[in-house]
Symmetry: C2
Subunit: 514 residues, 2 copies
């Protein structure tokens, strides 16, 4: 065992056994992750039915292993013992979190776990068809099942808690929807006028330059260079193509990211990769000696998203980044960039334009997409909205926030994979990630005075080292709010995000400091 | 359950439970298969250590599930019951084979299974380095371990059997090394003079045409068309690139084949794909309603190889095949094939040339490579040869069979992945496959009088239907020898292979009928 050794020999032994067991749990979970990655990237079209059965079998086994009463007893003894009270911090956190996870999992019946795993694969397949055909009835029964199963899961895990909080806890431990909603309302009250100011501005950025012909082969080469430059280690990872970009940690030295390609819109691939590579840097930066245990795990999806958003938006859309990146881009795309300067490209990247699809949204309107999903899925979980009424509720809310209605469900309620993949309570972590990212970046800029110059020179290691130390090294020892507070010295607030958006987008749209 | 229902209701219930359990076993094995495929095709370089741990954890779990005493008791009761005596044939075979597999597996300790799984991943990584550096000492200690573990496995499984037979049984159930050796000796006595006649012939085929510049992108397109034409279903499978081509069945509708590319040697990719697609047709032709049970499994690796060899050599190198294929090839490769006829290409494909590397060997000398490995690995398993003496023994035997010594171990004892992958007792199935293929093809030609004309017209479905009915539909209900006898109407004999080689290679080398 490579984890720090506690003093009490019998407690030490018990701790080692518990860690060994937890690492086995993690191994199985990592096999499940590989199945999921393969399903999205490689699996032949007709392989889905068997994949659903594989996922169910593996989830059932993993659950049985994870909820082994022997491990439960070990953890209960450890939690009541001297290590939990006075061991080294990482050991204390490991015991507390392992015991907590075990309890939560042990309350879930094996059958429900298997059913959820199988339904996730099957419902995602239905979603692919539903979206392609813009046919809500294809997906609706699957979402009925999925929301029912997830509500059941919530009531097993945390019978006394609000069911939405119980679900959100899987992605953002400790988060409560009332707090999140309050932050989002505050953010919304700043973003709505900013969007109006940007879209009404006389001098809006022209993004025509990004819509020229960018050959995909050249894009593939270019984005790999960019990902490697910011520190993504291709010896410990890979990049593939999928309909929806994602990042999947298969093991401590095996992190896989994906993107997609649009020959007439450079940002799709470039910012897809910067985003996923940001996730990848976090995965590759977690303490490998704690792999499989809470100190070696991500703190939350909000923290994960803060890493992706920081690299994608706060680094990747900055003037300094384009000062460095422009010569590289010009070598890859001599024709479309023949008459462009770094400043032209960078300003084009900041165009604000309310649009239908979340994953193609600009940085400012993006949060409106997220808040809308947060409100809708919460209403379903709370029983205030029926699944069958989702399309209409979606379109009404969209019209209210964006000023026009989606032309069809493919561009509306069917656009995201999340609900069919069982990811309910997940959406709010996107905007939490934006909030965390802005606060972290402000602190990094304060702590690293030469940062802009470093980025302009293509040196990203100073920023990465800061993130490694303040965020990655912590693992899951802290929940997201105290983690960000510890990393930045200030309680979490959305004001850094508001300031950052106003400053950068105000400038790009010539509307002053907002 | 979709399998035929036996009459006795209580026996039926028991049989259904046993089948359900066996299907779960197979699901886990199919996850192991996916891990193996990913390891060869997709895994990042540094992912191997974690993959070894995943493989070990999964193998251990799968073994525990597979050897569950409850299932053992079910199978024992079924084997002694009315269904085993008088049920429908597939049910009888299923009971007999499930009971046999269970017994064999139950004798193996879990620890050994995990150790073997982990060592397979680690030793293969060592092999990659050893071969790249032509360094025997890098691999030797891993092979010591591997042969030790496999001997241990043999003695657990079949304590009273010859250890080599016990190992070979995993790949070729029922085969005995003395019978195999006798067949190989007979074959050898015909092949050695044929090789001499071919290499000494005055009119040897000129294969210069195959060494021209065949752009890889065009090859990729071409071989996919060929694989699809012979019946490989890309909706139920895929094709990737690996250093060593293979076929991996991940599920009933998910069969993955691989090949490699040589811009200056067209046969590498084309015959790699025809070979692996031949395996794939067998996988895709197994009865899906019996998936996970013996009637839905491959009979043996020899039978598997008979399918790949039949398509690769007996179809793919025939004049009829090239009559169909030439226009397709010319569209893909207009420049290198500008002055070539179908007959030129087909004859070039039959050049016999003793060479160092098995996987690049011509169809005639190929079997000499296999027999040599069969003899060497058997000597190690039987304790007649030490692992450390393998390189010298290899080189001596090679010089004896081929007339020259390998220049280094990379081109000698290090060339094959098999031993490092734990595949000991596997090599003889290659030549058994050639024997079966020739006998099956002779019977198919007898039963399908218009076959040559069909192939020349690009219609492969008649031959495929014959193989589906005679071979694929049988699954594992028969061992290889009775299966081939039933399919062809004659006891297995190497004489069809000898006749086929003499006829085809004699003609190509202008040396009469041998």
């Amino acid at each position: 065992m490579q984890t720090p050794r506690p003093a009490d020999p019998s407690a030490e032994q018990l701790f080692e056994s518990a860690c060994g067991h937890a690492r086995e749990d993690r191994l199985l979970a990592s096999v499940e992750a590989l199945l999921g990655w393969d399903e999205q990237t490689m699996m032949p079209p007709r392989g889905a039915a068997h994949r659903a059965r594989q996922a169910e079998a593996l989830a059932t086994l993993a659950h049985r292993q994870r909820t082994d009463p022997v491990q439960g007893e070990r953890l209960a003894r450890l939690a009541a013992g001297p290590l939990a009270a006075a061991g080294p911090p990482a050991v204390r956190h490991a015991i507390r979190l392992l015991a907590r996870d075990h309890e939560r999992n042990a309350r879930v019946p094996e059958k429900l776990v298997g059913e959820l795993a199988r339904t996730c694969v099957e419902a995602q397949q239905a979603w692919v068809t539903a979206r392609a055909e813009s046919s809500w009835p294809v997906l609706a029964p699957w979402l009925e099942t999925m929301f029912r199963l997830k509500r059941e899961l919530a009531s097993c895990r945390e019978p006394m808690a609000d069911p939405y909080d119980a679900l959100m806890d899987d992605y953002e431990p400790g988060a409560r929807w009332r707090d999140v909603a309050a932050r989002f309302d505050s953010l919304r009250s700043s973003i709505v006028p900013l969007v109006q100011a940007c879209t009404g501005a006389a001098r809006r950025p022209d993004d025509a330059i990004l819509r020229r012909d960018y050959p995909v082969a050249a894009q593939q080469d270019f984005v790999r260079q960019v990902a490697a430059a910011i520190g993504f280690d291709f010896e410990r990872g890979r990049l593939d193509t999928t309909a929806h970009p994602f990042c999947c940690g298969v093991g401590p030295d095996d992190c896989r990211i994906t993107t997609r390609w649009d020959v007439r819109w450079l940002p799709t691939a470039l910012y897809g990769v910067l985003h996923e590579a940001g996730h990848g840097l976090y995965e590759q930066g977690l303490p490998t000696e704690w792999y499989g245990l809470p100190p070696g795990e991500a703190a939350s999806l909000g923290i994960h998203e803060s890493q992706s958003r920081l690299w994608e938006n706060l680094v990747g859309r900055s003037p300094a980044f384009w000062e460095w990146c422009m010569p590289l881009a010009r070598r890859s795309f001599p024709e479309p960039l023949r008459d462009a300067t770094a400043a032209d490209v960078q300003r084009a990247l900041l165009a604000v334009r309310p649009s239908l699809i979340r994953v193609e949204a600009d940085e400012v309107t993006y949060n409106l997409h997220v808040m809308m999903r947060f409100d809708l899925e919460r209403a379903v979980v709370h029983g205030d909205l029926a699944v069958r009424d989702l399309p209409e509720a979606w379109n009404d809310r969209f019209a209210q926030d964006f000023g026009f209605r989606p032309p069809d469900d493919a561009a509306g309620v069917l656009q995201d994979i999340h609900w069919s993949a069982g990811l309910i309570g997940y959406f709010p972590t996107y905007t939490l990630g934006n909030i965390f990212a802005a606060q972290l970046m402000a602190a990094a800029e304060r702590d690293l005075p030469g940062l802009d110059g470093e980025i302009a020179a293509g040196r990203f290691d100073g920023l990465l080292a800061w993130l490694r130390e303040r965020v990655h090294a912590v693992g899951r020892q802290l929940e997201s709010m105290p983690l960000v507070e510890q990393a930045t010295g200030s309680p979490v607030s959305e004001r850094w995000l508001v300031e950052s958006l106003r400053r950068r987008y105000g400038a790009a749209h010539g509307i002053g400091a907002g």
